[in-house]
C-alpha cells in the first residue's frame, strides 16, 4: 500500500496491509499534526502532494528497504488537504521476522519519505498568517 489520500487514515488498515505469517514484529509510525511549531501556535495544516510521483517514490523507498534489510512488507500512506491538530497525517508500517530490523526500516522509511516524496505542508497560524514550510535545502542529484 503506497497511497496519497484525502480520507482520514486508520492506522489499523495500514498495519493490516503488512501483516504476514512469518512476521514477529510490525512497527508502525504515525505522524500527527502538532499544535505548535517552535512555540508558535498552529491553527491547522494544509498538505498538498504530487500524488502519482509521491506514490511512485514511496514504492521506491520500499524497494530500498527490500535491498537493505530483505523486508518486503512495507506500507505508506499520507493524507492531504486540511488537517486539524491531533489528526494523523502519515502512517508507515513495516513488518519483519524480528523487531530490530522493523524499527530500523520504519525509521528509514519515514526519513526518506520526508526527503524524496513530493508532499508540501502549509502552516496556518492562530494569528491568521500562513506559509509553506521551508525546510533546510535537500539535494538529490
Amino acid at each position: 500500500m503506497f497511497k496519497i489520500t484525502h480520507e482520514v487514515i486508520k492506522a489499523e488498515d495500514v498495519i493490516r496491509a503488512v501483516e504476514v505469517e512469518n512476521a514477529g514484529a510490525i512497527v508502525p509510525f504515525l505522524g500527527i499534526v502538532r499544535n505548535n511549531t517552535g512555540g508558535r501556535k498552529v491553527a491547522y495544516l494544509e498538505y498538498e502532494a504530487y500524488a502519482p510521483m509521491a506514490e511512485k517514490k514511496m514504492a521506491e523507498i520500499a524497494q530500498e528497504i527490500s535491498e537493505k534489510w530483505g523486508l518486503d512488507r512495507v506500507a505508506m500512506i499520507h493524507r492531504i488537504g486540511r488537517l486539524e491538530i491531533g489528526e494523523v497525517s502519515v502512517v508507515v508500517a513495516v513488518a519483519s521476522p524480528h523487531r530490530r530490523e522493523a524499527f530500523e526500516a520504519c525509521k528509514y522509511a519515514i526519513d526518506r519519505l520526508k526527503q524524496i516524496v513530493p508532499i508540501w505542508k502549509r502552516e496556518v497560524w492562530e494569528d491568521g498568517e500562513e506559509e509553506w514550510v521551508k525546510p533546510h535545502p535537500v539535494y538529490f542529484n
Binding site: Y47, E48, Y50, P52, M53, K56, D111, K114, Q115, I116, V117, P118, I119, W120, K121, R122, W132, V133, K134, P135, H136, P137, V138, F140, N141
Partner: protein, 84 residues
C-alpha cells in the same frame, strides 16, 4: 513540441496556476522552462538551489532533454520536517 508543466506549493501560489501546456523547440531542456518562467516571475531564480524538477515522475536535472508529451513538475523543497 508540447509538454505539461505542473506547479506545486510556493510555485503554484506565485504563478497563480497549478499547471499549463508549454510549447518548446525540439531539443529543449528543463532550464528552458525555468528561463521562460523567469520572464514573469524573476524571483524564481532564488529557488534554483533548493528546488527540484521532475520529468515523468522522476527527479531530473536542468540539462535533462525533453520530449513531446512529457510531464514536468517544479518541486520546491518538500516538507522535510525537523527530526524532533
Amino acid at each position: 513540441m508540447k509538454v505539461k508543466v505542473k506547479y506545486f506549493a510556493v510555485c503554484h501560489e506565485m504563478l497563480g496556476r497549478d499547471e499549463e501546456d508549454m510549447e518548446l523547440p525540439e531539443g529543449a531542456v528543463l532550464m528552458d522552462i525555468l528561463k521562460r518562467l523567469e520572464e514573469e516571475w524573476p524571483e524564481i531564480a532564488e529557488y534554483y538551489e533548493i528546488m527540484q524538477m521532475s520529468v515523468n515522475w522522476e527527479y531530473a536535472t536542468e540539462q535533462t532533454v525533453l520530449s513531446d508529451g512529457d510531464e514536468v513538475a517544479l518541486i520546491p523543497p518538500v516538507t522535510g520536517g525537523k527530526d524532533v
